[in-house]
Symmetry: C2
Subunit: 284 residues, 2 copies
C-alpha cells in the first residue's frame, strides 16, 4: 500500500464514522456510492476535492433499492480496489458499513418522494426510489456533509434526492455532475461489466439514439412524439438492444411532453441480455 492509500481511513460503524468526522475540516463533500468505482465516481470525488475541505465516500450496496434479489447478488463488488481509487482521489474517509449498520434490526421507516419518483425508473422498478430516498436520508444524516455529489446519468435519482433533501430540510446541498462517457459514447456505469463483448459493442446505440434526437431538436424538431420515434427507430436498428422505454419529458417534473418547450429530458432504459442500462440527454 502506498502512502497515499494509507491516508484514506476506512470506517464501518456509525460510531466510528461520527468519531472520524469530528476531526475532519469543513466543508465536507460527500460522494455516496454502491462501490465498483469507475471514472464517473472519480469525477464526483474530484469535484468534491476541488470544492470542499474534506471528501467522504460511502460504499454501500443498498438492498432496499433492488427489486429482484438476483440483481442485488450480482451487483459487482471490489472493496479493496475501491478504497485504492478513493486514496488516489484524495478521499479522507470511506464509510463502508454492513447492512445491519445502515439498517439496524427493527428498522422500519420509509422515505418516499411523490410525483417525480413515479414515472420512468419509478414505474419500471417499483420500490426502487423509496429505497434510494430512504438510504440517502440515512447517509446524509450520518455524514452531515455540506454538499453531496451525484452523476446526471441517474437523472431521476438526482431529482428524487434533491426533492427529499429539500423537503426534509436536510442541510446537504445536492450537486449533479455531467455523465462521464467512454470514447464511443457509452455512459460509464458499474453495470457495464456485465455486458458480453458483443453487447459492449452494441451498447453505444443508446447514446447514439439520444444524440440523434438531440440533433433533431437542435435543428428545430419540437414534436415529442417525433423525437421518441427517432430514438425508438435508432434502438430498433440494433438487434441486441431491447428498449424498455423512451421518454421526452419535462426536465423538472418528468411528465411526458407533447411539445418540447422549456427544459426537457430525453431518456431511455435499454436491456442488453440481462443487463439493463439507462441514459439521458438534456434539451436546454
Amino acid at each position: 500500500m502506498t502512502d497515499i492509500a494509507r491516508s484514506t481511513r476506512v470506517v464501518r460503524t456509525r460510531a466510528e464514522l461520527r468519531e472520524a468526522l469530528g476531526g475532519l475540516p469543513r466543508p465536507i463533500g460527500f460522494v455516496p456510492t454502491m462501490g465498483w468505482l469507475h471514472v464517473g465516481h472519480r469525477s464526483l470525488m474530484q469535484r468534491a476535492r476541488a470544492e470542499d475541505a474534506t471528501t467522504v465516500v460511502s460504499i454501500f450496496v443498498n438492498p432496499r433499492q433492488f427489486g429482484a434479489p438476483s440483481d442485488l447478488e450480482q451487483y459487482p463488488r471490489a472493496e479493496a480496489r475501491d478504497v485504492e481509487i478513493c486514496a488516489e482521489e484524495g478521499v479522507a474517509l470511506v464509510f463502508a458499513p454492513a447492512v445491519e449498520e445502515v439498517y439496524p434490526p427493527g428498522f422500519d421507516t420509509t422515505v418516499s418522494v411523490g410525483a417525480v419518483a413515479r414515472p420512468l425508473e419509478g414505474a419500471a422498478r417499483p420500490g426502487h426510489f423509496e429505497g434510494v430516498a430512504t438510504v440517502v436520508a440515512v447517509l446524509f444524516n450520518l455524514v452531515g456533509a455540506e454538499r453531496a455529489y451525484f452523476g446526471r446519468k441517474d437523472y431521476q435519482q438526482l431529482l428524487v434526492i434533491r426533492q427529499m433533501a429539500r423537503d426534509l430540510a436536510i442541510a446537504t446541498e445536492v450537486v449533479g455532475l455531467p455523465t462521464v462517457r467512454a470514447p464511443d459514447g457509452l455512459a460509464v456505469s458499474s453495470r457495464n461489466v456485465h455486458l458480453s463483448p458483443a453487447e459492449r459493442v452494441a451498447a453505444p446505440v443508446v447514446h447514439r439514439a439520444l444524440a440523434g434526437a438531440v440533433a433533431a431538436w437542435q435543428r428545430g424538431e419540437r414534436s415529442a412524439d417525433a423525437l421518441r420515434r427517432m430514438m425508438s427507430d435508432a434502438l430498433a436498428g440494433e438487434p441486441l438492444a431491447n428498449p424498455e422505454y423512451v421518454s421526452v419529458a419535462d426536465a423538472r417534473t418528468l411528465r411526458e411532453l407533447e411539445v418540447v418547450e422549456a427544459p426537457a429530458l430525453l431518456s431511455t432504459a435499454v436491456r442488453f441480455g440481462s443487463t439493463r442500462l439507462i441514459d439521458n440527454e438534456p434539451l436546454e
Copy 2:
C-alpha cells in the same frame, strides 16, 4: 409585555430560525407543539429547561396529520397566549411558521413508519402518523436539537417518532414524559376545550377505566381479554362516552396481547360528542 416575555424570541421562517439558532448555547431542548399550550406542555418545557442550555418550542398546527378538514379547522389556536406561556417557562426561541414555510410549494416527500404506526391510532386515523413522522422529521432537521420532549399521553406517537428518528439517524434524542392529569384524572389535552360542561364531568371515566384495569393487573389478572372487558364495562357505565377501541398491547410493538407478560400498555380512544380523547396507562 413583561421583561420575561420580551426575552422569548418568535421567528417564523426557516432562515430566521437558522440565524437565531446559531447564537444560542447548546445543548438545545426542543418541544414541538401544535399550540394551545397547557400544563402538559409546560412540564415538557420545564424538563428541557432543567436538562438543556436552551429551550426551543415550535407552534405549528400540522395539516398533514389531520384526517377531516373540520378537525384541522376546529383545532384551537391562541398564539399570543402560547408565547406568553413560553416566556414564563424560560423558552428562548419560539418557531411559529406558516404552513408554506414548513411545506414549501411543491413539497412532496412522506416519511412513514411501519408496524408500530399501524394499530390503534394508526388504524383509526389513516395517514395520521405519516403526517406526524414527516413534520417531525422536518422540524428535527430544522432545529437540530440534542433532545426533544413529548408527552406519553400520545404514547404511540412517541414510539413512531422515536423509531423514525432512530432509523433516519437524526441526532435528536426523543424523550417521553409522564402524562399530566387534572385532579379528577382527566389527561390534559388541547382537545379538552371542546368538551361541554356535562362531557367534561363525564370524561374522567377514561382514566378510571384504565386505572381499574391497572388495579386488576396489580392484583394478578393476566388475561388481556379480562382487562379489555373491564375497561369496556367501565366506559359503558358512562352514557356520554363512546369508546372507539380498548387495547391491551405489547408496550414496544403495540401488538395486542392474549396474556400480559413483559411491559404492556393499556390504551383507549373515546368520543364524547364530537371530541375524541385518548389516554393510556403502562403496565410495568
